[in-house]
Symmetry: C2
Subunit: 489 residues, 2 copies
């Protein structure tokens, strides 16, 4: 039997994180120079720690904190990491493990193991942070520690500044590091792109696998299981970028379906649309891909109408993306293409520009067009200091409104959903009721929705779609009927 995968997990170059540290160092030095501050002190980050589930001794599978992963690539819990701004030297601080660790959890690696594995200048124990940093310090006065403290504009949560015994022997700066480091993560280096590409390759392949095996009568979670298995078995991806959304029928209108209270547990029915939003993570770097298609393998005319409206928006955006283009503008472009299609399909009536003014796009696509992607699925840097979210429907859900820059990876994920909670008020509102062909809309009761999501790299003269799954209706129907992917020409 042919292997169900043509892929092999690529080696991860530890230089990737060395480069990330250099990127930060250059950026931080430039920033300090511009404000005439001395180029002394240390960046200090505290890595993540293993967590127990409530009071039990069930330990959750550890995943490194994302900023720490970016700078140091450390997979083990309980570390700290520092970068000397004056010399560029990097230091890891490893937890001092008790002797019985060797019996229960594995060999206790010598410090040299971490030095080599993570390509840092030196490694000490976490109880030596104060001493080591004082010894290394060549400036005058108390050494300054640049700690990570700032808000995540997607969660509104704050990062946790490093804490350790002896921190009182240092001055601490809580404001400088976060915006600089967040910004570093926005532009991806080539080795980072290689990992995101692999996460895309294995996830694309897994989506095709699910497309081939989906059947009426299955549970939604079986699609999730197939996806997870493919990406782990053949891609070595132990983590997903996010909880799989395997929404069928009406569930496909629930944007973040799949969580514990809506756990992918519906049985697939003939005539359902499936909206599958699933992406694997490889060595910290993620992917985020959505495919939508009929469970039975053949689009109905109504399904084709909505699907093509979204696909046209997806393609229009990708054809336009290049450095300098505004993401807010791309969102509006997608809205407009979708509204035009709905008008052509006689679901909407009237002037599309008027609809745009009344924000009708947000009734059908309440979420943002896409978000930066990297170590976090909703990656940092969406709203740098001084920029603000729109308050308008749809636009306020955008996770970024920036101008595109070369090296950004951003998802393009237009959608069109029939959500009663939004449609009923809009159709009843005297300002917008006239745009709806009420009879036609009623045909879509219980239809759910369509989303098409690809991960796109902004390049010097345009962009590159890193996702490779069947998108045209003819392609999807062919693959679901057994054709190979990519299709033979």
């Amino acid at each position: 039997m042919a292997s169900p995968s043509s892929l092999t997990p690529p080696p991860v170059p530890p230089e990737l994180h060395v480069t990330n540290r250099e990127t930060l160092l250059n950026s931080l030095r430039r920033h300090l120079s511009e404000s005439s501050r001395p180029l002394y002190g240390f960046v200090l980050l505290q890595g993540g720690e293993e967590q127990n589930r409530y009071d039990t001794d069930h330990t959750e599978l550890f995943r490194q904190e994302s900023y720490f992963a970016y700078l140091f690539g450390v997979r083990e819990p309980g570390f700290y990491g520092a970068i000397d701004i004056a010399t560029g030297k990097s230091v890891l601080f490893a937890p001092r493990l008790p002797a019985e660790y060797a019996v229960w959890l594995g060999e206790i690696e010598p410090l040299s193991y971490f030095k080599e594995r993570y390509m840092v200048s030196m490694v000490h124990y976490t109880d030596e942070i104060a001493t080591v940093l004082h010894d290394e310090y060549k400036g005058s006065g108390k050494p300054v520690l640049f700690l990570l403290h700032g808000i995540n504009t997607d969660s509104d949560l704050f990062s946790k500044p490093a804490e350790f015994q002896g921190i009182d022997k240092f001055d601490t700066d809580l404001t400088t590091l976060h915006p600089v480091l967040s910004e570093c993560r926005v532009i991806k280096s080539d080795p980072e792109l290689a990992l995101i590409q692999f996460a895309n390759d294995i996830s694309s392949e897994a989506h095709v696998e699910v497309m081939r095996k989906i059947r009426v009568g299955m549970y939604e979670y079986q699609l999730e299981s197939m996806f997870l298995h493919h990406t782990y078995m053949y891609g070595g991806c132990r983590h997903c970028s996010y909880t799989c959304i395997c929404a069928t029928g009406d569930n496909s209108a629930v944007l973040h379906y799949g969580h514990a209270a809506a756990p992918n547990d519906r049985i697939l029915e003939d005539g359902d649309l499936a909206l599958l939003d699933m992406g694997a993570e490889y060595n910290f770097y993620g992917s985020d891909i959505t495919c939508s298609y009929p469970v039975n393998g053949k689009f109905t005319p109504d399904q084709a109408l909505i699907y093509n409206a979204v696909l046209d928006a997806h393609n229009a955006v990708i054809s336009t993306m290049k450095p300098g283009v505004s993401w807010l503008g791309m969102h509006k472009l997608a809205e407009k293409v979708i509204l035009e299609s709905l008008k052509r399909g006689r679901i909407l009536v009237g002037n599309v520009d008027d609809m745009m003014v009344k924000r009708l796009g947000a009734v059908f696509m309440p979420h943002g067009l896409g978000h930066l992607l990297g170590i976090d699925t909703h990656d940092t840097g969406g709203y740098p200091k001084g920029t603000e979210r729109s308050k308008e429907p749809g636009l306020k859900s955008l996770r970024t409104t920036r101008e595109l820059q070369e090296g950004m990876v951003i998802t393009v994920e237009p959608g069109c959903y029939f959500i009663d909670a939004l449609l009923v008020p809009a159709m009843g509102n005297s300002n917008t009721t006239k745009f709806f062909n009420h009879e036609a809309v009623s045909r879509f009761k219980g239809f759910g929705g369509v989303r098409i999501e690809s991960d796109v790299l902004v390049m010097a003269n345009g962009c590159k779609n890193m996702t490779n799954v069947p998108r045209e209706i003819s392609e999807i129907e062919a693959v679901m009927a057994g054709a190979p992917w990519p299709l033979d020409k």
Copy 2:
């Protein structure tokens, strides 16, 4: 093609949690009566909340807190639950969800949905706790809330007593509930046993599936992926009882291998032993199963020697288990059987009783023989108030030393490992060096270890092994060579 599974996820009777609440109520009332306290007040528990990963908006897949799951079976986050000690009425308090929840996360269920689904007397919102409980209270004075506060003897962590706005209008009792509720969980009801049995059935089947597909050249994590896929795809098990331990070669001597710092990433070699400790969870109830066998499907004489030593211990314990038997005694029985086998195999020399006195068993089996199993893999009640852990090697690792009682489910998991960190000191120690055939032991350098783990129900006149996997060497070799399981007679 025949389906790879003969199983179907069973429906979960909501009465299960009704029964659990009755069990607690009876036990708590008895306890209060015995100390001449009034039968008034409320048990109040706070369910688990969804967690973000660090500062990001990555939400971890929610799993209900175990005590709350036991009493209420609620799969959604953010709930509270109360039981009225006077009337036995049960109340759930649901979070008041914002309107936009419907767009992003799914339909907002009416309170009646939860009342029916979880078979409670009434459902209110979490901002109504103080009012509702005051209204329901029929006693005199301030109502007493029995809150959950106590130590988990496996993790040494404390459960979190419920907190809510208005708690100052109540008296709180932090000491009564925890020991009573922990003890309720020790004896399993028939509906609980049915879930543990299903978790065992699907996990046993998945172990057999892995046994059939394991090949030299695979990565350890591919075994994990196959197991997870089988239990989710065919058993609907979204959660595992614990992180899979897929240890091969030398790794099989690391008792809790498989975590993030030792992530099942070795390539399987010809001649390796595999030690696979994996168990699925079904509707909160777990399983915990270990199979050990050669990757290439054929035991060498040395592998057979150690394997049979452990299997004999496993079988000797199961033949002896019944109510009234001491678990500490079972641990020592297992040790003795293993030491006798090692002596017969000329790895040890001398008097086995002397070896027992010198705690030599703990050199080869540093962990406890087994632990209570239920909603937690290491389930509550191992050391009730007033009981203490042994300080002796091996025995101190026991998660319980209780007498067996009908209705307990406990794992039987003897093991025999060649761990340098334990062997080198014991062989060098003047008290124990004489017991070792040093030349023979050296043959086992890098051998790893063997563990055999089954989940066993204590019954009135003996016990029942709920796990069903090939255990005899002949059975394992037959199944790995393609025979069906169970074997045709």
